[in-house]
C-alpha cells in the first residue's frame, strides 16, 4: 500500500505547480477577476492546450494520464483558484473521445490541443424539467432548447447538448444561438443561459449517451472535489501564516487556544478531503466498481469542508479578511461555485446513501 503518487504523477504535479506559480499565480487570478471579460486568461489556456493538459482524462494509450493525475492537476489549479473552463474542457475532451462519431473525434483533437473550447450544456430550469428527461430535443438534424448555468456558455466554441434523443454536438453556434450571462458571486467563473436552435449532430444515443453523461458527472464531481482540496489547502496555509505573524494584546494571535483549535479543525477538514479525493481518483483507475460511490463521498465531504475552511480563513484574518485586497475571499467564492455545481453537497449526500457499498 502506498498513499503517495508514483513518480510520473508526482512529477506532473510538481511541474504543474511551477507552471501555475509562474504563469497563473493568485495575483493573476485577482487580475482576471477584476478585468477580463471572459473571466479567464485565453493565452494561458492556450498554453495549457499546447502542453496537452486538456487530454489528461483520455485513455492512457491516447496520451491521457488517468484520474489520479487529473485530480493532482485540479488540486494544483485550486491552490491558485485558477479561473476558467479547464475542468469543463477536460471533461468535454473525455466525453468527445467516448463518442463513436467522426465529428466528435475531429473536434476532440482540436479541443485537447486547446484550439477549441467545448463544454457540456446539461442543466435546464428545474421547475420545468427533469434532469433525466430534458426538454431539449434533437430533431431533423437540429437541436432546439434552453439550457441554464452552462459553464462559459457564452465563450464556448462548441457545445455538447443533452437532449431527450441523446447527446448532440453543436459546432460553431451561429444565428440560432444566444447566450445571456449569469454572473455569480465568483467573478472568475462565468455561466450563461443559452437558447439554441442550430444544426447539430447526434454523437451518442441511448445507453451510450447515458453512460457518457454519467461519466461526465462523476469525473466532474471528482475534478471539483480536487479543486476544492486545493482551495482549502492554500486557504489554510495562508491563514496559518497570517495568525502566526499577526499580533494582538502583545502575542501572536495564533498562540490563542481558540484560534489554535479552529486551525486544527481546518486541518482535519483539509487532510480528510485529501484522503477522500485521492481515494476516489484511485478507485476510478483501480477499482471502478466503487468509483461512483467514493466520488459522491469525496464531493459531499469536500464541498462542506472547503466552505468551513474558507469561511474560517476569512474569520481568522479578522478585518482584512473581508477586504478585496487580501486573498481569502477568492477561495470562498470559488468554493461556492465548486460546491454547488458538479453535484451539490445535498445531491451527493443522497447519492452516497443510494450507492453505499462495502469498500473493504
Amino acid at each position: 500500500m502506498q498513499f503517495e503518487l508514483d513518480e510520473d504523477r508526482a512529477l506532473l504535479k510538481q511541474s504543474t505547480r511551477e507552471l501555475l506559480e509562474k504563469e497563473a499565480p493568485l495575483s493573476e487570478t485577482r487580475a482576471v477577476m477584476e478585468d477580463t471579460p471572459e473571466g479567464f486568461s485565453k493565452p494561458f489556456h492556450a498554453q495549457l492546450g499546447e502542453l496537452g493538459y486538456p487530454g489528461l482524462l483520455l485513455p492512457e494509450d491516447d496520451g491521457g494520464m488517468g484520474a489520479l493525475a487529473f485530480a493532482a492537476v485540479l488540486a494544483e489549479m485550486g491552490r491558485v483558484a485558477l479561473p476558467g473552463p479547464f475542468l469543463d474542457l477536460a471533461l468535454g475532451v473525455r466525453t468527445l473521445s467516448g463518442c463513436d462519431h467522426e465529428a466528435a473525434a475531429r473536434l476532440g483533437e482540436r479541443a485537447r490541443a486547446g484550439e477549441a473550447l467545448v463544454v457540456m450544456a446539461r442543466l435546464e430550469d428545474p421547475t420545468r424539467s427533469d434532469p433525466d428527461a430534458p426538454e431539449a430535443r434533437f430533431e431533423a438534424g437540429r437541436v432546439r432548447g434552453t439550457k441554464t448555468f452552462v459553464p462559459f456558455g457564452a465563450h464556448a466554441d462548441a457545445l455538447l447538448v443533452t437532449t431527450r434523443e441523446g447527446l448532440a454536438l453543436v459546432e460553431r453556434p451561429g444565428a440560432g444561438f444566444s447566450a445571456t450571462p449569469l454572473p455569480t458571486i465568483d467573478h472568475a467563473q462565468r455561466f450563461a443561459e443559452i437558447a439554441i436552435d442550430e444544426p447539430a449532430e447526434l454523437v451518442a444515443e441511448g445507453e451510450a449517451a447515458a453512460r457518457l453523461i454519467e461519466e461526465h458527472e462523476r469525473l466532474g464531481a471528482l475534478g471539483a472535489s480536487a479543486g476544492l482540496l486545493g482551495l482549502m489547502e492554500r486557504a489554510l496555509e495562508i491563514t496559518v501564516a497570517y495568525i502566526s505573524e499577526r499580533e494582538a494584546f502583545g502575542v501572536p494571535i495564533g498562540s490563542l487556544q481558540v484560534l489554535q483549535h479552529r486551525a486544527a479543525d481546518m486541518l482535519m477538514q483539509v487532510e480528510s478531503s485529501r484522503s477522500a479525493v485521492y481515494r476516489a481518483a484511485w478507485s476510478e483507475e483501480q477499482e471502478p466498481e466503487t468509483a461512483a460511490y467514493l466520488t459522491a463521498v469525496a464531493k459531499a465531504w469536500a464541498g462542506a469542508a472547503a466552505r468551513y475552511v474558507c469561511g474560517q480563513a476569512i474569520q481568522l484574518h479578522g478585518g482584512v479578511g473581508y477586504t478585496w485586497e487580501y486573498d481569502p475571499h477568492i477561495f470562498l467564492k470559488r468554493t461556492k461555485t465548486l460546491e454547488s455545481f458538479y453535484g451539490s453537497t445535498r445531491a451527493q449526500l443522497g447519492r452516497a446513501l443510494a450507492l453505499r457499498q462495502p469498500t473493504l
Partner: protein, 392 residues
C-alpha cells in the same frame, strides 16, 4: 412579566410604518440593482433618505429636545429601527455619527461644538466617519498608535485609521489619537478633524462584495483645531467606551425584523422553485424561523430590561454573536436551498429580486468580525458574565 409595547409605542410604530410606506420609494436592495446608480449616487440616495428622516423627527429621538430629540425611549428607537430594517430602508450616512459622536458631544463636548456640529450632522449636510480602528489594532483597540502633537493651541495628527465607513464621502472624521505614548488608556484623546485638508488622505477600502463603503485614512500632520478636542486631553478612551455602550437596545429587534424580510423572500423563492414540500427543506426553513424568533425574544427581553431600568451589560455580547452568526447560517442555507439561482449577483437580470443573496452571503462574513470580533465577545461573556478565572 409583560412583553407588550404600550399603546403609545404601538401607535408610534404604526405611525412610522405608515410614514415609511409613504416616503420610501423602494427597498434599498432595488436601488442597488438599478444600473443608473453608482457608488456616489447611492450615497446621495442615503443622504436624501437621512434628510427625510431628520425632517420627520426620527433622528436622535432620545436626545434632549434642544438637539432634535423627543425624549423617546429605547423601545421607541428599537421599533423605529425594526420598521426601517423590515422595509429595507437605506442606512443613513451618518449612522455612526449619530450613534457615537452625537452622544459624545452631548455628554462630553462643549456648547460650541454641539452648536457647530450636531445640526449639520443630523441634516446630513456634513457626513462624519469614525476614526477609531487601526490596521495594527483590531480587537485590541487601546493599542492604537495614531498620535496627536501640540502645535500651538492646535494639534497635528499623524497615523492611519481603517474601517472608516463612508470615508470617501465624509467631510469630517472623529478620531481617537494618542497624546501620551506611555499611558495606555489615559494617553488617548478624542478629536474632530476635517477631511478636506492637505494632511489627510482618504482611500476607499474595497470589500469582498466589491463595494468600497469602507475607507482607510492616512494622517500626515493633519490639523485639528484646539477647540475640536472633545472633553479633556486624555479623556478619549473613557468617552469612546461610554458612547460605544449606548444604544445597544436600539438594534435588539432590528436584526430579527431585517431577517424576517429576508426569510419571507427565501420562503417565496423556495416555493417558486417547487421545493417547499421537501422534508429537508422544511426542516432547514423551520430552523431558520425558530432561531430568528428566539433572537427576537432575546431582543424583547433586552428592551424590557431597559424599560425596567436595568442597564444592558455584557449580555449585549450575546446579541452580537447571535445576529452575526445567524446571518451566516441564513445566507448559507439560502444559497443551498435556492440552488445556483441564489448565487447570481444583483446585476444579473435573472437574479431573484427580493433579496440580493449573493451580496448577503459575502457581507455576512463581516458581521462576525467587526464591532469586536465574536472571539472577543466570547471572551467578554466568559470573563464578565460567567466570571471564569483568568489564566496565570
Amino acid at each position: 412579566m409583560d412583553l407588550h409595547f404600550t399603546p403609545e409605542q404601538i401607535a408610534f410604530r404604526d405611525e412610522v410604518r405608515a410614514w415609511i410606506a409613504e416616503n420610501l420609494e423602494r427597498p434599498f436592495s432595488l436601488e442597488k440593482r438599478d444600473p443608473k446608480h453608482d457608488a456616489d449616487s447611492l450615497v446621495e440616495v442615503r443622504r436624501a433618505w437621512q434628510k427625510k428622516l431628520h425632517a420627520a423627527g426620527y433622528l436622535g429621538m432620545g436626545w434632549p429636545a434642544e438637539w432634535g430629540g423627543r425624549g423617546a425611549s429605547e423601545a421607541d428607537e428599537a421599533l423605529l429601527q425594526a420598521e426601517l430594517a423590515a422595509a429595507d430602508a437605506p442606512q443613513v450616512p451618518n449612522f455612526l455619527g449619530i450613534s457615537l459622536l452625537g452622544p459624545a458631544l452631548i455628554h462630553h463636548g462643549s456648547e460650541e461644538q454641539r452648536r457647530r456640529f450636531i445640526p449639520k450632522m443630523l441634516a446630513c449636510d456634513e457626513i462624519w466617519c469614525q476614526g477609531f480602528s487601526e490596521p495594527g489594532a483590531g480587537s485590541d483597540l487601546a493599542s492604537l498608535r495614531t498620535r496627536a502633537e501640540r502645535d500651538g493651541s492646535d494639534w497635528r495628527i499623524t497615523g492611519q485609521k481603517v474601517w472608516t465607513t463612508f470615508g470617501l464621502w465624509s467631510d469630517w472624521i472623529f478620531v481617537l489619537a494618542r497624546t501620551d505614548m506611555d499611558d495606555r488608556y489615559g494617553g488617548i484623546s478624542f478629536f474632530l478633524v476635517p477631511i478636506d485638508q492637505p494632511g489627510v488622505e482618504m482611500r476607499g477600502l474595497k470589500q469582498i462584495t466589491g463595494e468600497s463603503e469602507f475607507g482607510e485614512v492616512f494622517f500626515d500632520g493633519a490639523l485639528a483645531k484646539g477647540d475640536h478636542l472633545v472633553g479633556q486631553v486624555g479623556e478619549g478612551w473613557r468617552i469612546a467606551m461610554t458612547v460605544l455602550s449606548y444604544e445597544r437596545g436600539a438594534a435588539s429587534i432590528m436584526y430579527p425584523a431585517q431577517f424576517d424580510t429576508q426569510l419571507d423572500g427565501l420562503i417565496r423563492g423556495v416555493h417558486e422553485a417547487g421545493r417547499a414540500e421537501r422534508d429537508d427543506v422544511e426542516e432547514k426553513l423551520g430552523r431558520l424561523v425558530v432561531e430568528n424568533e428566539v433572537m427576537r425574544g432575546n431582543g424583547l427581553r433586552t428592551l424590557a430590561d431597559l424599560a425596567a431600568g436595568n442597564a444592558p451589560g455584557p449580555e449585549s455580547s450575546i446579541e452580537k454573536i447571535f445576529w452575526s452568526e445567524y446571518h451566516q447560517r441564513l445566507t448559507d442555507s439560502a444559497l443551498d436551498l435556492l440552488g445556483p439561482q441564489g448565487q447570481l449577483v444583483a446585476s444579473s437580470p435573472s437574479a431573484r429580486d427580493e433579496v440580493d443573496w449573493a451580496y448577503e452571503y459575502l457581507w455576512s462574513r463581516a458581521g462576525s468580525i467587526y464591532s469586536g470580533s465574536n472571539e472577543i465577545q466570547r471572551n467578554i461573556i466568559a470573563k464578565r458574565v460567567l466570571r471564569l478565572p483568568s489564566g496565570k
